[in-house]
Symmetry: C2
């Protein structure tokens, strides 16, 4: 297959190398530093080379878009015809410092449910947990997926309370993963929303569970 | 441990039973149907019983909040003192039909980045993928986490293009999971935002990967 890589950042570099080493013809393009593209192509091997964005698009069946969001519109206007091309995007709306989303999610997020609970019960030790867990799995005979245990993230501000909740998670047949303080509930609740929607859209609901792999 | 369960829906029922069977003292509370609570306690075994919300809170060290969001504020106002209690919440801001979020994420989401790309390149075959994948893992010698392969979700509207992308995902050393059509990019991009934030907040970044367990 002929694959054009647009963007020489971490994602474009890594995917382009992997595909070139798998034997595909890869064109690296779109860097302010032409040397970076040449080094990438050399590292990727005989089936990789450097080209313009226009060549990477015109000569490929598959095009990977791995650029910063602010550059996207101008890039697409000059890339040439994308008619019928397979366009893979991993472009993120996330800002580079992870502080906010430039699209989709506003940066003026309201409090999470968990933080709201903490405000209503200020002396309680609030811990959020189990929100990516489907009740259908909880209610079944086992939480195992083959030999795997799903992960349950938890977060809170009281370390003793978190230790207790961690044990309770494990007793249910899950692996407990400490996600941080209660502020992280904003993230966990967002993750949970996306996870359940994804389970539904992929038609895997409810026999789907999230495992956090670490190494 | 003494655990009060508030809410007799799927989550409260399942967790209460699991903890009771693990030997904890569990009080089931808060259902419009008193019989449902009694059946739950009977099914959970000798260490489980039924009580009022006030008793479930007062007599427990740990309280699970598993109620609908609209009921939450009134419930907490009548629950008695939560001072020092470990309060586990899996309360979701998600609406029961999964169509929207009542807190945190507005329902008038803008287009995803992938849909924006599709509008800018209307005859291209846009597929979103790799957005929960950390470049540091991609760039390393192997994508394996022990014997596990992480999952990469992908979505798009063209089935042939999706098949091609699925193969490209697998060639990188990932398991490919079809998440649905391009509209699902809104969810995938939201998931990706939350996932990277979670990796950072849990201090596991970048040696963290998501695996979708199925059964």
């Amino acid at each position: 297959m002929k694959i054009g890589i647009i963007g020489a950042g971490n994602m474009g570099a890594a995917l382009g190398k992997l595909w070139a080493r798998a034997g595909h013809h890869v064109i690296f393009s779109y860097s302010r530093d032409e040397n970076k593209l040449r080094e990438l192509a050399a590292a990727a091997g005989d089936t990789a080379r450097v080209g313009t964005v226009q060549a990477a698009v015109a000569e490929s069946d598959v095009v990977l878009l791995a650029v910063w969001l602010p550059n996207l519109e101008a890039l697409l206007q000059t890339a040439g015809s994308l008619d019928g091309k397979i366009l893979i995007t991993c472009v993120s709306g996330l800002q580079p410092d992870f502080t906010g989303q430039t699209i989709g999610i506003p940066t003026d997020l309201k409090l999470s449910v968990a933080e709201t609970i903490q405000q209503l019960a200020p002396t309680a030790k609030v811990v959020e947990a189990f929100n990516t867990t489907f009740a259908e799995i909880l209610a079944s005979d086992s939480r195992q997926f083959g030999s795997d245990l799903p992960s349950v993230f938890y977060c809170g501000d009281d370390s003793e309370a978190k230790q207790v909740v961690s044990s309770l998670i494990e007793e249910c047949g899950y692996e407990a993963v400490d996600a941080g303080n209660l502020l992280v509930a904003r993230t966990l609740e967002t993750l949970a929303t996306a996870w359940v929607q994804l389970a539904v859209s992929s038609q895997l609901f409810p026999n789907l569970a999230l495992k956090a792999l670490r190494r």
